[in-house]
């Protein structure tokens, strides 16, 4: 295995103890993941950490530790920028390192939360990582000042050097790092005003690009260990079912096959020398399933349950003001429509995988995860060992999008397989088919919109009844609030800094009739903000057209109390030229929402051919995330959001038949490719004073902007996704 000195692209090797407990085939020296003040295996003293976040080596290399996971979103670089900014180090000498979840446990969670989801990577940790950088800087300065016998306050820092002007002395961080490590950390440190930033806030190149250009980046699926075996798995196609029987003898003689094992109640795995041989044998393995109580469920039966919820009496309230029933009763005009979205698979490019090494005393797991601590908990649980006897090494992720964060089902499987083969490391890789049919799907919901309008066309009342699946009820029931799933109301909340509605409507009711089918839901990039923005923003468009008003002007009338929502909407309107006619044959749509702490808006220009073929020519997207740590990465996230959001809106649907997901690969679950990719113009307008996320919010405006433009082009209102199911030819 190529050893790359940049930590996140390097796969840590197993601990000596675990490997020595194995079959005795391991005779190499082993890299032990960093320990404070430890010696390296060749006996040379390792560079001491200045504090938990910063190590400065004698050669002036600055190692910044990053607890959150990098999965393409740029958080690794962004968090390093924040630390480096306060540290005043030389950015050209910065590298990064993942502290392991076990080390976090052993050091009383000194690195805080490892969870990398909800667009929280930067916005939830910016303060303590900046303080970590500032504290390290203070300790380095104190060490130099002590050596010189001068007051620390008289010293200045710049790009990794410390100078004392009065005495004309200077030194480097690397020279004093050892001494700094012995200095008492400051109790409190002042942070820079973001207006003074020189590293943070700048469009710097990513730190992790180069290994991704020559194949040297190690992803979980690429991990190599001495004596490694490979496993392929098949879980019961119907969730809730299990294994009735299987004929191991039919495949045990096949090339490379080592073991056939049942995994829990519902899955069977084949372990072989190579993955291909494991998969080949698994394909030949006769398995009889007990498909359980859900074997008759279909998309149609789920839709019927959800339709019933649209009229159900009981519903959880997310936003209520005034008297909606009264407003609807007294309205000059009532407009009503029902919308719906299907299940979606995350479809990360790298399928789920984990490598596990189990002995009766210790269990180690190498896996791509969005939450190392949750992976450690899953490991300990499956291993039957205390977490202190387990370790998880986070390997680079080939995409996450929420699939690799909240549940670690694949880790559990890998550990259960490894338990059958003590001392032998086993890598479990899901086939694309396993991945596609055993996801944690974007929840299925329907929504009935009812609006009350007065004689002037003003919106006087709005009832949004969401019916369908709750993510938290399945994934994190402890986060439910009196039976209610607050995540369901993303973007529709009456206020607050996270996900508030951008309109003031005198009478409003947003409620949720919870209906949970057996297909397991998960946090899918953008989460509930996606459907909620489609429901609200397409319906606002409907109301504007129903009352003969311009869709932008109709919205702005309701946005007087929502200046940030309004600012991003006006920004996209201006850039796309809303007040001017679009080119011949081109039509526009517009929308806005707020989620994950940020304000976003989108505008689209589309055309639809006589044959009903949609072409998206141009997208304009505005985002106000409060503070922008790396504008070029935000631009990449915004552009990428349209690929993810439009893949779902245009093509994506996971449907259910006989209790199982019908789509098995990218041929039946198509996603956007370059031929359909529109130009995306990003307007980044950080207004300061708050910290919002950027990985997810823009996804929510992708679909409504395009769907509203499609209506403008065709007069057809697409209310049920994906759009490919609608004939767009002009009637």
């Amino acid at each position: 295995m190529r050893i790359d000195r940049k930590a996140p692209s390097r796969a840590p090797r197993p601990s000596r103890r675990a490997l020595l407990a194995g079959a005795g085939i391991f005779s190499l020296g082993f890299h032990i993941p960093f320990l404070a003040r430890a010696a390296t295996r060749d006996g040379a003293p390792a560079a001491p950490e200045v504090n938990a976040w910063v190590v400065v080596k004698p050669d002036e290399t600055v190692v910044i530790r990053v607890a959150r996971s990098e999965m393409g979103q740029g958080t690794l670089t962004g968090l390093a920028q924040l630390v480096a900014e306060e540290l005043d180090c030389d950015w050209a000498r910065v590298t990064t390192e993942y502290p392991s979840p076990g080390q976090n446990l052993a050091r009383k969670r000194v690195w805080g939360d490892y969870s990398t989801g909800g667009s929280r990577g930067i916005r939830d940790s910016h303060e303590y990582v900046r303080k970590g950088g500032a504290a390290a800087r203070a300790m380095l300065v104190a060490a130099a000042a002590k050596g010189w016998g001068v007051p620390a306050a008289e010293c200045r820092t710049e790009r990794g050097t410390i100078t004392h002007a009065a005495s004309g002395r200077s030194t480097t961080y690397g020279a004093v790092a050892g001494e700094a490590a012995t200095i008492e950390p400051p109790k409190d440190v002042a942070l820079k005003d973001p207006r003074d930033w020189t590293i943070a806030g700048k469009p710097l190149k990513r730190l992790d690009t180069l290994p991704k250009l020559d194949g040297s980046q190690v992803y979980g699926i690429d991990l190599k260990l001495p004596g490694l075996l490979n496993a392929a798995i098949r879980d019961c196609p119907v969730t809730g079912g299990g294994v009735k029987s299987f004929e191991a003898a039919a495949v045990t003689g096949m090339p490379g096959v080592k073991r056939v094992v049942q995994v829990g109640d519902s899955a069977v795995a084949v372990v072989a020398d190579t993955f291909w041989r494991a998969k080949t044998a698994l394909d030949a393995l006769p398995i009889v399933w007990d498909e359980g109580p859900n074997a008759k469920v279909s998309s149609e039966s789920i839709a019927a349950v959800l339709r019933e919820g649209l009229d159900a009496e009981q519903a959880f309230v997310g936003n209520r003001a005034g008297d909606v029933a009264g407003a609807l009763k007294g309205a000059a005009k009532v407009v009503e429509a029902v919308y719906g979205v299907p299940f979606q698979n995350h479809a990360t490019m790298e399928p789920m995988n984990a490598t596990a090494l189990w002995t009766p005393e210790r269990c180690e797991v190498w896996t791509p995860t969005q939450n190392g601590e949750a992976a450690l908990a899953a490991t300990a649980d499956a291993a039957g060992l205390p977490a202190t006897s387990c370790e998880v090494y986070k390997i680079h992720l080939g995409g996450g999008f929420g699939r690799r964060g909240a549940t670690h089902d694949w880790v559990r499987q890998a550990v259960l397989i490894a338990r059958e083969m003590p001392g032998t490391p086993v890598k479990l890789i899901w086939t694309r088919e396993e991945d596609m049919t055993h996801g944690r799907y974007h929840p299925v919901t329907q929504c009935r919109m009812r609006a009350a309008l007065d004689t002037e066309g003003n919106l006087t009342g709005l009832h949004m009844r969401i019916s369908g699946q709750s993510i938290l009820a399945s994934v994190a029931p402890q986060r439910m609030v009196e039976g209610r799933d607050p995540v369901t109301f993303q973007g529709l909340n009456p206020g607050g800094p996270e996900a508030a509605i951008g309109y003031t409507i005198p009478n409003i009711l947003v409620d949720h009739a919870m209906r949970n089918p057996h297909i397991l839901p998960g946090f899918w990039r953008g989460v509930n903000l996606n459907p909620n923005a489609i429901y609200l923003e397409c319906f606002m468009d409907e109301l504007a057209h129903a009352t003969g008003q311009d869709p932008l002007a109709f919205r702005l009338k309701l946005m007087g109390n929502h200046p940030k929502h309004r600012a991003v909407l006006e920004a996209v309107a201006e850039r796309i030229g809303w007040d001017r006619k679009p080119p011949e044959g081109v039509f526009r749509g517009i929308c806005q929402t707020m989620g994950f702490g940020s304000y976003v808006a989108g505008a689209a220009e589309v055309s639809v051919s006589d044959a009903g073929e949609l072409k998206i020519h141009r997208i304009v997207a505005a985002t106000d995330p409060g503070h922008a740590v790396n504008p070029q990465q935000i631009d990449a996230q915004v552009a990428g959001s349209f690929v993810y959001g439009l893949s779902a809106a245009l093509y994506g649907a996971c449907t259910v038949k006989d209790g199982r997901i019908e789509q098995t690969n990218f041929d039946s679950y198509p996603v956007m490719r370059m031929d359909a990719m529109p130009a995306v113009e990003t307007i980044l307008m950080p207004s300061g004073g708050f910290w919002g996320g950027v990985g997810e919010p823009t996804i929510a405006v992708a679909a409504p902007a395009v769907l509203n433009a499609v209506f403008a082009a065709t007069g057809k209102r697409v209310r049920h996704l994906p759009l490919k199911d609608t004939d767009l030819r002009r009637a």
Binding site: G72, T209, E350, D667
Partner: protein, 153 residues
């Protein structure tokens, strides 16, 4: 035993004849830059060059490789990462998670070898690899930049 020429080196491999080239490259030869994404030639993460042409190695059995055919993987595309496509990718910070990028780069390099100045329509039609992070616009810009460099250099 089959003989393969991979990145200029002749390798003896011990695999069943129906083993896809992808898994031979990854598991027998040990070059893991070539990725598994779908197994049915849909996503292009496994793209390698066989005699200069981009092929999807997940759907090409070992038995289909003829003696003497030259296979090039991402690891062997250019020494020192100095292929114009890799250079353009570095300049524009194209990758996000990066998992699809070896395939993207190999597909793009093969396109430019065949069509040094492709039109935007040609690029959009020829590069059909899937990226879920959504790097398409930077991939497009990267190919255009590499094409310009290829012309001037």
């Amino acid at each position: 035993m089959a003989r393969l020429t991979v990145n200029g080196v002749v390798r003896e491999v011990d695999a069943e004849p129906d083993t896809p080239l992808l898994w031979v490259i990854r598991e027998q030869i040990g070059l893991t830059g070539t990725k598994y994404g779908c197994g049915i030639a849909q996503c292009g993460a496994c793209t390698v060059h066989v005699d200069g042409a981009a092929v999807r190695a997940c759907s090409l059995p070992l038995s289909a490789i003829e003696t003497g055919q030259k296979i090039v993987t991402i690891e062997g595309l250019a020494p020192g990462m100095d292929h114009p496509v890799q250079q353009a990718w570095a300049e524009l910070d194209v990758p996000q998670c990066g998992f699809c990028q070896p395939g993207m780069i190999m597909a793009s390099a093969a396109l430019l070898a065949q069509t040094p100045r492709p039109s935007e329509e040609q690029i959009r039609a020829e590069i059909t690899n899937i990226c879920r992070c959504g790097t398409y616009n930077r991939v497009l810009a990267g190919i255009k930049l590499a094409a310009e460099r290829g012309q001037s250099g």
